[in-house]
């Protein structure tokens, strides 16, 4: 009805059918993101700066945070529920650090497009810079938190082996995975705000469904159906392959097995491909839902 009332008048400019010049298409999204890599770096610095500006301990928090968590878990698993692992603190920390990297990056990253909506509304830039910068700042945190891990290893006489040189590769694979999952959840959160609460609950469940606080080897040979199901879940769970990337070199002093690395890499690249594809596909529609 309103539509009909808006017929253009004769003096209005009629749409001219003119061929658009060639070579003026938008560049591929991946190129756009790459062009803004300095922005990602700057956003990472900003995030770290803002986060630690007001705290006396500053960057120390990054190192203290996993340590305090570890103390809680260590107390629970050594005194309340006795665990079989020697040097349990190192074992825990080696599993918790990659887990905290993943879960924190995801929880912060899924809100990142919404949090930065003022920018998204006003400046043309690839929205992926926001979740990616969150992953970046958490990578910095993860790297920093290796310091207390090494301190703990030294204190508990855990041997330092050459296998530790694998850690940079582990960090890369973890980062690819985190980036993919975070991109996917960040775009979903734009459309459905409660994805955040859902993810919170899912992460809590996932912590216990993944070999973070325990090791696959510790599982007994129960035959009940639910235990079979649990084993199946552990085989599918990407974290069963990602956590050992850190824990094997740190705690067992050996390189992760080739199949483990292969599956982890497959999961990581798959997550990134799917995450990036879905994110960029939905990106033009973000602005209508902010």
């Amino acid at each position: 009805m309103i539509e009909a009332a808006q017929e253009t008048r004769p003096d209005a400019v009629a749409p001219q059918a003119q061929p658009l010049p060639q070579g003026t298409r938008r560049p591929p999204r991946i190129v756009e993101v790459w062009r803004f890599r300095q922005l990602v770096a700057l956003l990472v610095v900003r995030e770290l700066k803002v986060r630690y500006k007001r705290s006396v301990l500053g960057l120390l928090w990054t190192m203290l945070n996993p340590l305090l968590l570890m103390v809680v878990y260590a107390v629970v698993f050594t005194t309340i529920l006795p665990a079989a692992q020697p040097n349990f603190a190192v074992f825990l920390l080696a599993g918790l650090l990659p887990w905290l990297y993943f879960s924190t990056a995801l929880m912060q990253g899924l809100m990142s497009v919404l949090v930065n909506q003022e920018l998204v509304r006003k400046i043309r830039l690839p929205h992926a810079v926001f979740p990616l910068s969150v992953v970046g700042s958490n990578l910095v945190n993860f790297t920093l938190s290796l310091v207390p891990l090494f301190a703990m290893m030294a204190a508990l006489r855990q041997p330092f082996t050459p296998a530790l040189l694998f850690l940079p590769a582990a960090a890369v694979i973890l980062t690819l995975f985190c980036a993919g999952v975070t991109l996917l959840f960040a775009t979903a959160t734009v459309f459905f705000r409660d994805v955040r609460h859902l993810t919170e609950v899912l992460l809590q469940m996932l912590l216990y469904l993944s070999p973070v606080l325990y090791d696959l080897k510790q599982l007994g040979a129960h035959q009940s159906w639910w235990f079979q199901l649990f084993r199946l879940e552990l085989r599918v769970n990407p974290l069963s392959y990602l956590i050992p990337l850190v824990r094997d070199p740190v705690y067992y002093g050996r390189l992760p097995s080739v199949p483990t690395v292969a599956v982890a890499l497959l999961w990581a690249s798959g997550a990134l491909l799917v995450g990036f594809a879905v994110f960029t596909r939905l990106e033009p529609r973000h602005i209508h839902h902010l």
């Binding site: 309103i2 003026t24 920018l119 006003k122």
Partner: protein
């Protein structure tokens, strides 16, 4: 296609208007995604074709909700048209809102670099501009204070100072001249005149005839998302007034 050129061809930007506002997965699942089917499309902009050659200056006028800002955002690349094509060539400096992207916790200095990166400049390139930006903004030592402590005038000054120094091919300005004191406004206007003289394409949204006439010889009138007029600023203003006066004499505009 040369730098500074803007071609809009039959551009339409449609929003889905949902009868029920659904923003959570729970609601979406609860009513089985019905909101997607009952959604109506609202066209904020439709069948808009404009050719703006490099170095041209055009003012956009229209009532509130006529689609001016939508058009500006489409040119800036913030919005993608749902119909037609919007093509621009060259670097765009979007002054859609001054200081968009400032982080209140960071100092003015950090924000200059952050804003530069948002516009696609490297740290090195911004370092070269830094002193000029501070000088233009007249902030002096305040540049090292967190911008949350700035007055709104200081905020806008820094925003304009950055935007005016990014060597754009296309300058987009949305009512920013309404901020800052009169002296700074004059300074901004002069700077825009400089840009005009340097052959930079200029797109300007205005509610004021005097400013529009001062800066742009050409104006486009938007009315309910349609392009109602495109031509000399004075004639455009006439048309705008005529449309504002209510039902226009022509039968087609009677709602």
């Amino acid at each position: 296609m040369r730098d500074g050129q803007i071609i809009l061809q039959d551009v339409g930007v449609g929003y889905r208007i949902y009868r029920e506002k659904v923003s959570t997965l729970k609601e979406a699942v609860a009513n089985r995604f019905r909101h997607l089917r009952t959604a109506e499309k609202f066209w904020a902009l439709r069948h808009v074709s404009l050719q703006i050659p490099p170095g041209d200056a055009i003012a956009l006028v229209g009532h509130n909700g006529s689609g001016k800002s939508t058009l500006l955002k489409t040119i800036a690349g913030v919005l993608e048209p749902s119909e037609g094509a919007a093509v621009t060539q060259g670097r765009i400096s979007p002054m859609i809102e001054l200081g968009a992207g400032f982080d209140p916790e960071l100092s003015g200095r950090d924000n200059v670099y952050l804003n530069g990166a948002l516009l696609g400049f490297s740290h090195k390139q911004m370092a070269a501009k830094f002193q000029r930006i501070v000088d233009f903004s007249e902030l002096g030592d305040f540049i090292d204070l967190p911008v949350k402590n700035y007055s709104s005038g200081m905020y806008a000054r820094l925003g304009f100072a950055i935007a005016q120094d990014v060597e754009p091919d296309i300058l987009i300005v949305d009512e920013v001249l309404a901020v800052g004191d009169e002296r700074f406004q004059e300074k901004c206007k002069r700077r825009i005149q400089d840009f005009r003289a340097a052959g930079i394409t200029f797109v300007f949204v205005s509610h004021s005839l005097s400013v529009a006439r001062e800066l742009c010889p050409r104006a486009a009138v938007l009315h309910h998302g349609r392009l109602a007029f495109d031509g000399p600023t004075d004639a455009a203003w006439e048309r705008y007034r005529e449309l504002e006066r209510g039902p226009a004499p022509g039968p087609v505009f009677q709602a």
